[in-house]
Symmetry: C2
Subunit: 321 residues, 2 copies
DNA sequence: CACGGCTCTCGACAAAAGTCAAACTTGGTT
DNA sequence: AACCAAGTTTGACTTTTGTCGAGAGCCGTG
């Protein structure tokens, strides 16, 4: 047979099975191979995104609560994962939902900005494969040598791999020891171009971090617990793409932020669809800050978090009136 | 579209099964129903487009021949169904491919123009269900009381049903007995609006008809075999949305055309993506005319037809040089 | 309130799909 | 040429899924 018999065969088998609706044994006899091979080809077809199986996420936006959150915070779309109604682990449910929503939002030819964190990596990990043409996945912030598998570059590459897209990594550390060095590095053509390209993204995927000792920034050694505490008293409210933001969703004026190589918030806000996913209930204040700062247009959260947001919004309206 | 309790269950089952990857018995115990019910719900979910299973049509555009046809005729994209390599009935293969391509081209919020004919109805009939929001399917030409099931309004409605979209029918006959009456009818607000709306479509789906006694126009009594023959000698080369076109793909100047209520070719050309599907090998000349008239940007054909097109293109280039 | 007609649900069986170790290619290396 | 490693392919077996008729609930009607 020709150059790549495997890929051709996978495609043909998938076509006959999924598009024409033949049974596996019928496909097998058509292609003169055993049914076992057909089964294997079909698995590969699903794994490589030659066939796409997607379920509508309508149910989760049609929710009354989701509508209320949209209205209360002026968001474009909100998806709410019903907590403990379905599965043992609610955070998995949020990630599965987020992955589906993400795939629904991506279009051919898109440029996608991806941040990092446990949430983002979990999403990447459970996301099904797709065969999107001309998609580029860009890393939103510098790297951090984390002892975990959710380093910024890994998040980017894994998502790129799943989408069959091109991954554009950031070859710089997230945080440097002096402001001087950070400034010089940001001026480097390679880095400058990458930073400039972020505003051209069509879609961003990120979560928001909490300002506490459990933060990845602390765990990965970018900040000490004491420093974190200090930033907190200076008004730090959350972490976005490795940067500390205040309660209004603006970059906090501090030495740490000046030493960071990451996407400017203005660039992030220039991205049309900003998909934020929050799994942990403890991230309530960080999420509020991110929303206040206009860093999120599309939101995926759990039912409990949604309840807290609505409660907060109601209280705010009452106070105002 | 209020979600009924049954729909909720279908959605939940589909979500657990397809998104979370649980087995049917696991889903059953989660939802406290029998596995048999789960299986039934899942079938319904597939039938209503709550879950989408689509296979990439890449293979058919990646083909060398498809590329050549694209280049030779200046088309945006060409898909070629390999003939007799796969199944007994090659025309089914073309229709299955066309349906997949069509679903790949449709986007949320699109407005889609649909003509009529056996080809179009076959495509509608085998097309899988989808849950596209805010899609409108508009009928491109007036109606014809055909003794078959592929009347213009049926084609439109069936496709609308499959996509879960709104169907906009044409409440006028395709052809009238006098030019006067056709003119008055075209001026009617209802009709005028519909005709005007055609140019706003994002995607059109049609085939091209042959100018012979087998044509639907003859079979449905719009024209007699003798009239058809007469038109042929006047330069008729094909039929598009009920109108007769000449070899250059322009409307033929004849009484029949002046009595027809259908989309103006200029409106059709204003549609960004014009997907033409041709099953029969005998429609070679009609297809050439349609291409010449710029009525087709995306094309789905069989391998044999592709061969003839290339042969023709080569001959034309040789003659020119 | 009993009766058909209706849809929804379930259990049991049949059909189809998934899996795995072993046999077999294939392409490169000693 | 012989050998090895990586990757396919297969038959036999197990698990999962599809289907169908029976039964259960539900409602409007005579």
């Amino acid at each position: 047979m020709a150059i790549r018999p495997a890929e051709q065969l996978i495609h043909k088998a998938a076509w006959l099975y999924y598009a024409h609706g033949l049974r596996q044994d019928e496909v097998a006899s058509q292609l003169n191979i055993s049914r076992a091979s057909v089964a294997m080809y079909l698995r590969k077809a699903r794994e490589t995104g030659i066939v796409n199986i997607s379920t509508s996420t309508q149910l989760f936006t049609d929710d009354v609560m989701a509508r209320k959150v949209e209205d209360a915070f002026g968001l474009d779309a909100v998806w709410i994962a019903p907590e403990n109604a379905y599965l043992a682990d609610p955070s998995t449910d949020i990630a599965v939902l987020a992955a589906s929503v993400f795939l629904e939002l991506v279009k051919k030819g898109d440029r996608i900005g991806v941040a990092w964190g446990r949430t983002v990596y979990t999403i990447a990990d459970i996301m099904s494969f797709a065969d999107l043409q001309d998609v580029t996945v860009v890393q939103l912030c510098g790297n951090l040598g984390a002892p975990y598998s959710y380093r910024p570059d890994q998040c980017t590459m894994e998502i790129a791999r799943r989408l069959n897209a091109k991954g554009l990594n950031f070859y710089a550390p997230l945080v440097l020891s002096t402001e001087e060095l950070a400034k010089s590095l940001r001026a480097e053509p390679v880095i400058r171009d990458q930073l400039a390209g972020i505003a051209n993204c069509d879609l961003a995927l990120y979560s928001v971090g909490a300002v506490d000792a459990d933060s990845h920034l602390v765990k990965c050694g970018a900040l000490s617990p004491a420093e974190m505490e200090g930033l907190r008293s200076q008004g730090a409210a959350g972490v976005i793409a490795g940067q500390i933001i205040d309660a209004g969703g603006e970059v906090l004026d501090c030495s740490y932020n000046r030493r960071v190589i990451s996407a400017e918030l203005a660039s992030l806000r220039a991205i049309e669809k900003r998909l934020m996913v929050v799994q942990e209930d403890t991230k309530f204040e960080p999420l509020l800050s991110a929303i206040a700062g206009g860093l999120c247009t599309h939101l995926v959260i759990g039912a409990h978090m949604a309840g807290r947001l609505l409660q907060y919004a109601e209280a705010a309206t009452k106070k105002a009136s």
